[in-house]
């Protein structure tokens, strides 16, 4: 299944070219409990903690919802975000991957 690529939100204070120049972006790979509010709770937390989304994909599986978030953010440590996400009750599994983007267009 192809991930749905969303355009990075335009943010007046951010230097989007700096983000796009980065070839390596961290990605959160999560397994969420299939519960009301789980997805919006995660997405809200990631933004409030100072990260922007590069790409988002979700897939419903028998074990729960698989969520992959590519982060477009330079200045905050992603490992802290991983622990902040992992402590949520809805998060069953959490991993941080550093993946190489084929193109940063």
């Amino acid at each position: 299944m192809n991930p749905v690529r969303t355009d990075a939100p335009s943010h007046p204070a951010s230097d989007s070219t700096a983000v796009q120049r980065r070839a390596i972006l961290p990605a959160l790979n999560l397994l969420l409990a299939d519960r009301e509010g789980a997805l919006v709770r995660i997405l809200g937390l990631v933004e409030r903690r100072g990260f922007r989304f590069g790409a988002i994909s979700t897939r419903l599986t028998p074990r729960g919802m698989q969520l992959s978030l590519t982060l477009a953010s330079d200045d905050r440590p992603a490992d802290v975000l991983l622990r902040q996400v992992a402590r949520l009750q809805d998060v069953l599994e959490a991993a941080l991957d550093v993946q190489r983007q084929p193109h940063a267009s």
Binding site: R41, G44, A86, R87
Partner: protein, 571 residues
Amino acid sequence: MSSTAEHAIPPAVEPRPAAATTLRGADALLGALEAEGVDLVFGYPGGAIMPVYDALVDSGIRHILVRHEQGAALAANGYARHTGRVGVCLATSGPGATNLVTGIADAFLDSVPMVAITGQVATTVMGTDAFQEVDIFGITLPIVKHSFILRDATRIAQTVREAFRIAREGRPGPVLIDLPKDVASAPVAAPRFGPPAAAAAPPVDRTAVQRARTLIAASRQPVFYTGYGAGLAGAEDALRKLVRDTGIPVVSTLKGLGGVPTDDPQFLGMLGMHGSKAANLAVQESDLLIVVGARFDDRATGKLAEFAPHARVIHLDTDGAEISKLRYAQVHIVGDLKAILPQLDCRPEIGPWQSRCEVLRCASQPRYDPPGGDVYGPGLLHRLSELAPPDTVVASDVGQHQMWVAQHCIHRAINRHLTSGGLGTMGFGLPAAMGAKLGNPQAEVVCVSGDGSIMMNIQELATLRRYGVAVKVVLLDNSSLGMVRQWQELFFAERYSEIDLADNPDFAEVARAFGIKAASIEHRDQVDAALHTMLAADEPYFLHVKIDPRANVWPLVPPNTPNHKMMEKQP
């Protein structure tokens, strides 16, 4: 047919069926609360929560009717902070629920175990902008540890159990349960309740313990930096023993005050913006910070990049998400502080450092004898600490008086100093004191407030009166929003903007109008007698104290400044 005629129908016509055969969702909810040991809830009724209020009539749970839902949330919050049990508040949908938000956010930022239950419009009309419908689940998403919308009455008992487990385990926090009216009214089978859920503590990382011991043993200028986490973990005894055995000096955050008694010779004071000179200088000079249940809050660190510049960090916390969030920790141990602390006992050679810290401590002892006959706020609070029983609970509001309470009262236990540290909620003090007193009626509970803060929840004087909750209120009245005034004086070129409260009401008369005994004083020589009278009262009491509006909180670390560059009172 008139309502009078309706009332004339004999009750025998519609006999109330036996409760066991007609349990509703609301009954199951209250049964589940009782199974968790809840005997007290704070709330305010309204349309969507009415099934629960109906069920309360037959319940053993005591309900305290507050006069504003924010009072309910903050009373549950204060109850939880003092007793360590999960506080429960109850409100209806819409405005009832939104009025809880500040109290929930306060509990979130200060890690207070709380369960907030809100009524909701029926599931059939949720999402249609029904009367008093708001998405309280959505509104509170960023300020709860977890939340539920209870759409299925058969899941009520299980959800309540889950909510309480989440609220109290690990790093505690608030949990919201949104209960639609039709679910609360739906018939349910009698649930079975087992004993409350308990989580097993994770094992302590032995390698990290060994690395921490190595760092401590090699340090020459170590400092304990302790926070509220020590109290949440019930680790005060373990902390005190470790402090005594290692001989390492201690500083505390605002909310950690009392972890080590503030009159202990190894205690250097609170660190940070309004910390003591001794505490801030010791931290800035230290070569090792042992952080016990604290989180490098900006009010504690000052300019983060220059905070404790020579120190390595050992960070002990139950919440792994706090590790290296703001300051890198060379060693971290995540888990139960009560289990971790005893494993760190080792004896570094720190004789010269202890002497240095003792010099700093002696040099930063406050004085309580400024010239003039006005009441000196810090002096009054210090005197209050001396006169009140040693196990008195002090609940503070937010502002200058809050910092004076932190600096000048003697703190001997973390759960006896209730203060809104994270959110800084004006209006916290009175309801929090009320919650603490209702949770522990034997305790002497004093609320220290200001003339700005008291007005934010002054309606709770009616609740004190109604239930005879013998909270003592000390109102330090400088006829202004003092902390804002202080900042305008120091950092905004004395351009005073919207801080004047010279037209305050006569607060003692206000208290009397609520049916509460009150007195007013304005001279220093009245303080002792007034405090004695207040402490001797066995009912709610309100002491209104006029103080000098020009008094400021010292020392002060200006914003974005390292902690050793403190401003002190001008001579």
